[in-house]
Subunit: 329 residues, 2 copies
């Protein structure tokens, strides 16, 4: 039985790193005594809240947009996103002088809509429950001759997100840490697919886990069944960044080949992780960005020798929502 | 007219850096597009919220405690503090296996009291309005034969805080930034005195400003009058870490010799800075740690060519207080 090649290779991640070098933030890999003490072994935190636009999404978006031809750049780009990909595309488009139109749910966090608009993008609001964002975006792109920029199912996007994995490997080595296990937030699976591609090159045996909200554990179940499972209709979660209904056509084969397993966490565990990050790490993290930390704190990941690396993937959360989560502690 | 030598020299800061090397966190000097864009020039943020115990105070405390003789270590240490110095001393004492007793106001932020206790220190609560913490601590130290660890008026404490300045100079150079001005939070003046001692060695002409809460602008007024001014009785501020009633006997001569001027900010400007840090920097900062950012955002610092460096000195704030400040935005 022959299987198709994966959508990206390690060389694609290296190429993306060249493209974003000096443009994206090389986010720090941070270490905290209270976290390592609580877990009982060394923990390193890749905090993508410090990336441009407050999430890892800028990496992939910039790598994608930088590959457009001059003609494509002139025609502009269209994307759909609940907010982090929107901001990443808007920021990359602004830097590269490309017009961006973003289809966003009307009930996305206000901070995400406001930031996307502030970056100069055109916002097209839709109703998450009655309209298809794919249709709206596809029609718009066709009408304008613009390029659609998917939020995860695109080789340049996946490779761009993978640059965070290259940095993790380099930064962990610089810190004298042996990576024992790696936990990465997962929505459509682009970030974990890219990071796994980067890390597997030098760490073929290290356990790598995707982490999802319990009601959106499609990647975890797909990794078990071996085929792309979908989320139950009506599922909800506070993790607005991780509501993808199924693993991607390009991301899932990568994750199936490279991941150890999928973990999942409850909204209560996510809120607890956000409070821990506030009190003990002094970092703001959004719900979707906190799932890997939540899984670690809740003891969901099998123990492993060596250091634990977790990715905190984003930090775009409204003040009112953050205040409510702090108050519920 | 001859003046006494200053309490510390550049060599003392270098010596402190050797002592804390590999023990304290080398906190990152961070850069954010939204902040640089708002200010109109490059801004670099030294974020001491990532230091052990969530503030710069660990630097000085560890440098002080590491200098104790074996006999002094056995007899333990006593300190008074509203919370950040308390945690710094408690953490350093724990690492060095020294018993620590800390005199803390009963109305200090709960997170600061809880963290100090969790670090193994004995807490002695006092009433901020009717009791003298100096007397309680001095009596206790005498009764136990323990060493008093002042929160700022001590050469080893000042030199220890100065290590943040050494790192700023090195990290700014590594980032290719020319330091054009430097803004540092100021309570008793230990942090800014130490940092100024470190930075002046290589940057004799760069403007360095202390920043205080408006009602506690004793250092600013003292820099104008040339002598140690005091705070008006009954003064209040949300900056619980910066309520020192007058500049220190050791810190003021340093600051008089090395600082350009003192700036001050209102509590409303501090709250605005905390919200900005939350929304745009994704960092938690406590009121006293936000005054330099507040001064920068409020345009209080005279313009200068080159990069602006600000210190965000601490991040120990209760969730309820933080939630209230977010909600007031």
């Amino acid at each position: 039985m022959r299987s198709d090649p994966l959508a990206i290779t390690f060389a694609d991640v290296q190429s993306a790193a060249d493209v974003i070098d000096g443009v994206a933030v090389r986010t720090p890999l941070l270490e905290f005594l209270p976290l390592s003490e609580r877990v009982g072994s060394r923990v390193l935190v890749k905090f993508e809240g410090l990336q441009h636009t407050g999430s890892f999404k800028f990496r992939g978006a910039y790598n994608r947009l930088a590959r457009l031809t001059p003609e494509e750049r002139k025609a502009g780009v269209v994307a759909w996103s609940s907010g982090n990909h929107a901001q990443g595309v808007a920021a990359a488009a602004k830097m590269l002088d490309i017009k961006a139109a973003i289809v966003m749910p009307a009930d996305a966090p206000a901070v995400k809509i406001a930031n996307t608009r502030a970056l100069g993008a055109e916002i097209i609001a839709y109703d998450r429950y009655t309209q298809s964002r794919e249709e709206i975006a596809t029609d718009l792109a066709r009408a304008r001759g613009a390029t659609l920029v998917p939020s995860f199912d695109d080789p340049f996007i996946i490779a761009g997100q993978g640059t965070a994995g290259l940095e993790i490997v380099e930064q962990a080595a610089a810190a004298g840490a042996d990576i024992g296990r790696l936990l990465v937030c997962c929505g459509g699976g682009g970030l974990v697919a890219g990071i796994a591609t980067a890390v597997r090159e030098t760490h073929p045996e290290v356990p790598i886990y995707s982490v999802e909200p319990e009601a959106f554990d499609d990647t975890a179940r797909s990794l078990v069944s071996g085929r792309r499972e979908t989320v139950a209709p009506g599922a909800t979660s506070i993790c607005d960044a991780l509501l993808a209904p199924s693993p991607g056509a390009l991301t899932f084969p990568i994750n199936k080949a490279l991941l150890t397993a999928g973990l999942s966490v409850s909204d209560a565990e996510v809120a607890e992780a956000m409070r821990f990050a506030f009190l003990s790490l002094k970092l703001v993290v959004e719900p979707g960005g906190a799932v890997a930390l939540a899984a670690l704190l809740a003891g969901k990941a099998p123990a492993a020798a060596g250091a634990t690396v977790i990715v905190m993937s984003g930090a775009n959360v409204d003040g009112a929502d953050f205040a409510r989560i702090l108050a519920n502690g």
